[in-house]
Amino acid sequence: MIVVENLHRHFGGFRAVDGASLEIRTGSITGLIGPNGAGKTTLFNVIAGRLPPTSGRVLMDGEDITGLPPHELFHKGLLRTFQIAHEFGSMTCLENLMMVPARQKGETLMNAWFNRAAVAEEEERIRQKAKDVLEFLTISHLSEQKAGQISGGQKKLLELGRTMMVDAKIVFLDEVGAGVNRTLLNTIGDAIVRLNKERGYTFCVIEHDMDFIARLCDPVICMAEGKVLAQGTVDQVKNDERVIEAYLGTGLKNKVKEEAAHG
């Protein structure tokens, strides 16, 4: 689905992404891990058109999409969430979701002025859908709350909810789990799997919670210092010495053992 070829993104002299090449297969849930500052978010930003690459190409279904603006990529079915929540603070949570669907009739002025009936009908449909999403994320009680005034974790959920408002082909999730309650995160994981299975979404997920990665992802790609360090199945990557040294550390191993002991 997505092929990244020898991608570079430099900030001044600093190489945040330094010749990364990788592939995200259609229908997969690809995990992207790596130490802080490895260049994961920067890679997302380049793919999603928020930053221009210094060099290199990004292909989507064989088509070169390098440097296309974000709104065009959205229309091609490429969605992303932000690591640091980017909510529309002065709008209610419901509106935050309702604004997402593309090409709404009511978004052209002529319809907004003179074609209210058709607009209203469409609105009803979108509203219902948004309500369903809020329900699913367990925050339907917040539907009328301003998005600027909800808790940090709730913002993350909203961020995720926006990707559920449309039929995407590929969704990039940047640390949806950080700050989200683990019980809820499990539910979210289930949802991701369901979207993947039932609707055929492709996912690329950045996450530091290895349990979460292990539950969902195959394959897993580990980045470090702007390059791809290792890739493969979760187990392969988890046991890769370089990954352990750069990213997982030995503490985790202990913890994992402990987990096993606990059952």
Binding site: R50, H71, F82, M91, L109, V119, R162
Partner: protein, 432 residues
């Protein structure tokens, strides 16, 4: 809701009091200006309140609206056209063509030195070509009877037609400005638009062939169907009617004329507010608010931020242009020296903020209130000062203060502005 009604009633009361204690003519004349201001405030609110664009070029768009009145409604100056009309048109065409050619070359040529120098050569060559054709034509046109003409004149069409044309002219300018400047943020955009407005005014001041520059155009025809007072006073039917109802014909004629304006401006205001409200309370409005809140995120959600900014910038500017045309045609005069940022930009901003940005009704309320205040303090300021110093014994201090009383206008404006913002910091009718 009740609170808002009360606020509007309060402002209405101000006008009524002005009518009762000063004169109805004054009240109506202030009302007309306030209505125009309210429309401009709506235009600004569309840009700022909906999309967060900090446009301080209002003055320029209003002036372009005024220019439209000249171009549409004054009589053509035949001698001017004969002297250099074609030359001026040809010059302008050449100028536009060389800009277009430069842009074309810039887009087509491969990046590098060839492109830079090629484009530059086209620009420079075009400039001199333009000057060579344009300058002599201008001199010829301006030489014809500079005391009363010296320009090309207009089309001699009905003045009411100038209003939509003013809107179109402003919209066209907004399109060009938007293409250049809308990438800028907050205060940078503000100063850029302010600068562009100054450029527009500079052109209007110095290009005499266009609308006589600083020599002004006076006595422009009134918009249909507003009558002239003098005509009314001469019409036996009107005088009869006035005396039958116990009015003085002179006063009655002025009032009738002003009421005509009130009706026309009011109609435009209602139309604009109806359209604005509909737009705001629709998915379009929601999308605009989203863009205002967070552009990055809106773009990631598939909204074309640049296009939407341009759209809303053009719309708002067109509304200001229409209001600017109405202003000029009500005065019957275009004086480019009149356009200064304090009056035509910042006063409008005060209206928007005091009224409550993001809320159409707030902008209207602010327009009416501040419009009233701006004109009424002219007489109230000195009166207040007179009352304040009444206790002082005669002497240089007292004379000094009384002489300085005229400046109470600005002082009073300032105090009221501060008081309103103090007690309702988000404006009188805040955004929901």
């Amino acid at each position: 809701m009740n609170r808002n009604l009360a606020l509007f009633a309060g402002v209405a009361l101000l006008f009524v009091l002005t009518g009762v204690f000063q004169s109805w003519n004054l009240a109506l004349s202030i009302l007309n200006l306030s209505l125009i201001s309210a429309i401009m405030a709506l235009g600004v609110n569309i840009q700022w309140g909906y999309a967060g664009l900090f446009n301080t070029g209002i003055m320029g768009f209003a002036a372009l609206g005024g220019l439209a009145v000249v171009l549409v409604s004054t009589q053509p100056v035949v001698e001017g056209w004969q002297a250099g009309g074609t030359g001026i048109l040809a010059g302008l065409f050449l100028g536009a063509a060389s800009i277009a050619a430069a842009i074309f070359a810039y887009n087509r040529l491969p990046k590098g030195r060839v492109r830079t120098w090629g484009t530059l050569a086209i620009v420079v060559g075009g400039f001199f070509l333009f000057r060579a054709v344009f300058d002599p034509a201008v001199t010829a046109v301006e030489a014809f009877n500079p005391a009363t003409a010296g320009n090309l004149g207009g089309l001699g069409l009905p003045a009411t037609l100038a209003w939509p044309v003013g809107g179109l002219l402003a919209a066209g300018a907004a399109w060009a400005i938007g293409k250049i400047a809308l990438g800028l943020r907050s205060d940078y955009l503000a100063i850029a638009t302010l600068g562009i407005a100054e450029i527009v005014i500079a052109v209007m001041k110095n290009e005499d062939w266009l609308a006589r520059g600083v020599k002004n155009i006076i006595d422009m025809p009134r918009p249909w169907p507003v009558p002239y007072e003098v005509q009314l006073q001469q019409s036996a039917g009107f005088v009869d009617w006035a005396t039958r109802w116990g009015f003085d014909p002179a006063t009655a004629s002025s009032i009738v004329v002003k009421l005509c304006y009130v009706a026309m401006f009011g109609a435009v205001l209602l139309a604009v507010i109806w359209l604005s409200e509909r737009a705001l309370n629709s998915p379009w409005g929601r999308m605009m608010r989203a863009i205002r809140d967070n552009e990055v995120s809106a773009a990631a959600m598939g909204k074309n931020v640049t296009r939407r900014h341009l759209q809303v910038f053009i719309l708002g500017s067109a509304v200001v242009g229409i209001a600017g045309a109405m202003y000029t045609s009500m005065n019957g005069m275009l004086a480019p020296g009149e356009y200064n940022p304090l009056r035509f930009t910042f006063l409008i901003w005060v209206m928007v903020i005091v009224g409550g940005s993001g809320n159409n009704w707030g902008a209207v309320l602010g327009g009416l209130l501040i419009g009233w205040l701006w004109l009424i303090v002219e007489s109230v300021g000195p009166a207040v000062m007179g009352a304040l110093v009444a206790g002082l014994s005669d002497g240089p201090l007292k004379t000094h203060l009384i002489d300085a009383a005229q400046h109470m206008r600005l002082l009073t404006m300032g105090v009221v502005l501060l008081l309103v913002l103090r007690f309702s910091p988000r404006g009188l009718i805040p955004e929901k």
